[in-house]
């Protein structure tokens, strides 16, 4: 087998190439690099970076702590606001959050490397097994958390800190949610997601039940009776369909499944990839799938997005990363039909699109891109059952600012709620804030009230 074999094949590259391709995208800063990088922080008053962070980490303070040789103190500052600060340091689109807000951009178009500094501090603290939090005296209250993703873990940790007992129910074999299954391999190497889960759970008082799927193994109503409160951090389990001819063909794959399988594969060489790959979509998932297809040895990888570059959800940084890896980014192209040969994908017919009076329409001009494999990355959808009569809007759970749902005693946060931002860091903020809200409600001793009727 060789790298240019047609069809969908494994082992296109040498073991050394796989190792290099799936190593850390941005390795941790060395001590000296961290000092130089932290020296650039101006310690702004009412710092814009802090305002831009969904979890409101005190960025100027933690960077100053790094600059004075106190990375442990810096990690404490970070974890106070965001217990998943290690993963956020790796996956946050900092170029559109804290680093975009950095005042250094104004003068010199180069922000302080906040994300990498955050990773530096959190890595050191986690490597040393440094625990900053102890559980408060037991409250005697039990809380169920559904979903062991970023929102659920953040909620569970904060609840545990406040002395409550937590049981997390998760459908998968491993905790972490998208941190474990949904993030490009080169952003979270060395099994970091699991190490972080272990770090979070080491506070104690949190039990994780795996293989427990809402709607299959239990219903929400089962929990509301048994627990003092419930937090839903169930994410978006479904994916959108292309609804085009040939979607059922072998070789048409959901990008999220590809990404998850690749993350779980011990030997990346065992993962099959087409010689030619087309990715349909314009978000982070599309970029993650396309880049990793290239890293697996695909000769030609094309992202087709039905709108313009300026409409892509993938950040400028992600688009540049894809381009730097040799991914071809094409815009204003919509899939029309997947073409088969011998029952397998052979190509995709696409149609040019344009905006006409604000609506996306096909121009009638079509073409065919030869491909062995098609990845669908056109968005995830809310998909859950067993929730009963929970108020929904636009297919997501309605919550108030504290994360309270329409059902008394039930809170929710992360991607599954209305206004969910599809961001790890936003999910963490939701989980943390909901936990505080639950704590306040339990402390008040009153029956938690519903936010929405």
């Amino acid at each position: 087998m060789g790298r240019l074999d047609t069809g969908i094949k494994a082992s296109r590259l040498s073991p050394a190439e796989y190792a290099a391709n799936f190593s850390d995208l941005h390795p941790r800063l060395e001590n000296h690099e961290a000092l130089v990088a932290s020296d650039r922080c101006y310690f702004c008053y009412d710092a814009p970076c802090m305002t831009a962070c969904p979890t409101s980490i005190d960025i100027p303070l933690f960077i100053r702590q790094i600059s004075t040789g106190n990375p442990i103190g810096a990690a404490n500052t970070i974890f106070d606001q965001n217990i998943l600060g290690g993963m956020c340091a790796r996956v946050c689109p900092t170029e559109t959050l804290c680093e975009q807000a950095c005042v250094r951009n104004t003068a010199e178009h180069r922000p302080v490397e906040i994300g990498r500094l955050q990773r530096y501090a959190t890595d050191i603290a986690m490597e040393q097994g440094k625990q900053f939090y102890a559980r408060a005296a037991s409250s005697g209250k039990r809380i169920a958390v559904i979903g062991a993703g970023p929102a659920g873990l953040a909620a569970a940790h904060r609840l545990a800190v406040n002395g409550h007992s937590v049981v997390i129910f998760d459908a998968r074999e491993k905790a972490g949610g998208l941190n474990e299954y949904g993030i490009a391999t080169y952003k979270s190497t060395d099994d970091f997601a699991q190490r972080e889960v272990d770090y979070v759970l080491s506070i104690g008082g949190i039990e994780v039940k795996h293989g427990q799927k809402l709607g299959r193994d239990f219903n929400l109503a089962d929990l509301t009776g048994e627990f003092d409160a419930v937090f839903l951090g169930i994410g978006l389990a479904g994916v959108n369909a292309l609804r085009t001819e040939g979607e059922e063909l072998e070789g048409v794959v959901d990008a999220v499944d590809f990404i998850a399988a690749l993350r779980q594969a011990g030997d990346k060489g065992s993962v099959e990839i087409g010689r030619r790959v087309v990715v349909i979509g314009g978000g982070m998932t599309a970029v993650d799938a396309a880049v990793q297809a290239k890293l697996l040895g695909a000769e030609e990888v094309t992202i087709c997005y039905r709108r313009g570059k300026e409409h892509m959800n993938a950040s400028e940084f992600e688009q540049d990363l894809a381009a730097s890896k040799g991914v071809i980014l094409r815009h204003w192209l919509a899939p029309k039909k997947i073409i088969a040969r011998d029952g397998r994908v052979a190509g995709i017919e696409v149609e040019y699109t344009e905006l006409s009076e604000g609506r996306l329409v096909g121009t009638g001009e079509t073409g065919v891109i030869a491909t062995d494999q098609v990845f669908k990355a056109i968005g995830q959808t809310f998909e859950a059952s067993g929730l009963g009569h929970l108020a929904m809007e636009g297919g997501r759970i309605v919550v108030d600012a504290d994360g309270r749902t329409s059902m008394p005693g039930v809170w929710a946060g992360g991607d599954c709620v209305v206004g969910g931002e599809d961001l790890t860091v936003a999910a963490v903020a939701n989980g943390r804030d909901a936990a505080e809200s639950i704590h306040r409600a339990l402390l008040a001793g009153a029956q938690p009230t519903a936010a929405v009727a």
Partner: protein, 437 residues
């Protein structure tokens, strides 16, 4: 092209940049390299008297403080005078001077405070062809414990006495190097002048402990678990040196006494500032020890280019030009009123001006206007203190703008008085002199 040739008490050098007496000038090898690099002169590392030379510690001799990106801002050392044999030094000095007749070569000397010691060494030095001598009355560590260096420089009577001996026993120009470890720098300068010195040079290093090793609870540099105070130098000491140079330059008793300026000279600009405050030339050490001898190229071209741009033809056009503008606080014009002004186009909105003013000064800078981050000076609160200018990370973003005569000062509600008026005549001053009736 500006003429930067230097004539300091008759000692000529192609430029005013000399290397100070220190490790870089300890032997012929280094000095030859320095001259090749373009240095105008060197003050050879301090010679001691004949006999077994001093010894240095064999552990660390230097400590430092750093700024951003580990830029060296201050250096301290516990090295003593040359630890090489006197005759080895003298032989090398003679050879180097022969090889480089156009460069200045000064011998720094420190011997016991006895007439015979000075009488003995001066002819030996003179025989090398050195252009002059510098009396090391400044070294603050080690040698001062033995009654030399700063121990002499702190007693004006000793300075006068030793300078007198030197003027008596040699025809070489005498430069008296002063220690800053003294309350009033004018006293030793006056004593040196009274003894007949041709010039003074200053500052020598400042008594200092640069840092403490918090694991071992010992000062740095730590030698076998103990540390001692060392001599502090480098960019951090420049402000202290500039003030001391200016004090001597404007003291009526020492006015006109040639000064060789030393203390944190790192760039041409530093050198120009020393010259402006009355120095005839400058001596450099830490900058060379940090970056190597090549920095003199930047100093030479920088000074020369600046002089060309400003129309200064020779060093005489610069030396002492700022001295008349150094005055006592009591003579500053209290009717001069300035207000900070923030250039909104240059502002990067870091907010440091606001928090500095709000927390520690006069609450005169906004942080929020109409619901957005916005930093602007409130003239009715601004006292013109300049703190915001100094903490702003963007050069020229905040400037101090003087109010015109007659303009309204919104803080006091009074119009700016066009007349000069200082504290000596201010009504709040109980000692105020009555205006002549």
């Amino acid at each position: 092209m500006a003429d930067i040739r230097n004539n300091f008490v008759g000692i000529k050098s192609p430029n005013p940049f000399w290397l100070a007496s220190a490790p870089p000038t300890d032997k012929a090898y280094n000095v030859e390299r320095a001259f090749k690099a373009g240095w105008g002169g060197v003050v050879w590392k301090t010679l001691g008297e004949e006999g077994p030379p001093v010894v240095n510690v064999n552990g660390p001799r230097y400590g430092a403080i750093w700024g951003a990106d580990r830029r060296l801002l201050g250096l301290n050392n516990i090295e003593l005078i040359t630890d090489r044999d006197l005759y080895v030094n003298l032989r090398e000095m003679k050879q180097v001077k022969m090889n480089w007749p156009d460069r200045a070569l000064i011998a720094s000397i420190m011997v016991p405070c006895e007439e015979e010691s000075w009488k003995a060494i001066l002819p030996l030095v003179e025989e090398t062809g050195a252009d002059g001598i510098e009396l090391n009355f400044g070294c603050p560590h080690g040698m001062s414990e033995r009654g030399m260096g700063a121990a002499v420089g702190q007693v004006p009577e000793y300075i006068e006495m030793v300078v007198r001996w030197c003027k008596q026993y040699t025809r070489m120009p005498v430069i008296t190097k002063l220690t800053p470890n003294i309350t009033d720098i004018r006293k030793p300068a006056r004593a040196a002048k009274a003894g007949g010195t041709d010039a003074v040079s200053l500052i020598n290093t400042i008594n200092s402990i640069v840092s403490v090793d918090l694991d071992n609870f010992a000062p740095n540099p730590t030698v076998g678990g103990k540390g001692t105070h060392g001599g502090y130098c480098g960019p951090a000491v420049k402000p202290i040196a500039l003030n001391m140079v200016a004090e001597i330059a404007r003291d009526p008793e020492t006015y006109g006494l040639p000064i060789s300026g030393i203390g944190g000279v790192t760039t041409w600009r530093d050198a120009a500032e020393f010259l402006a405050l009355g120095a005839g030339n400058v001596q450099v050490c830490t900058a060379a020890m940090t970056y190597g001898f090549k920095i003199v190229e930047e100093m030479i071209t920088g000074l020369s280019d600046w002089m060309d741009a400003k129309g200064h033809r020779s060093l005489d056009d610069i030396t002492g030009r700022a001295v008349p503008n150094v005055t006592d606080w009591q003579y500053l014009n209290l009717n001069y009123i300035a207000k900070a002004h923030i250039d909104q186009d240059a502002c990067i909105k870091c907010g440091r001006c606001h928090i500095a003013c709000e927390d520690t000064s006069h609450q005169a800078i906004t942080s929020f206007v109409d619901g957005v981050r916005h930093f602007e000076v409130m003239e009715d609160e601004c006292v013109g203190c300049n703190l915001c200018v100094n903490v702003c990370p963007v050069e020229n973003c905040i400037s101090m703008v003087a109010l015109d005569a007659g303009a309204l000062d919104q803080r006091t509600g009074k119009n700016v008085d066009p007349n000069y008026a200082n504290w000596t005549t201010h009504p709040n001053n109980p000692m105020a002199r009555q205006a002549a009736e």
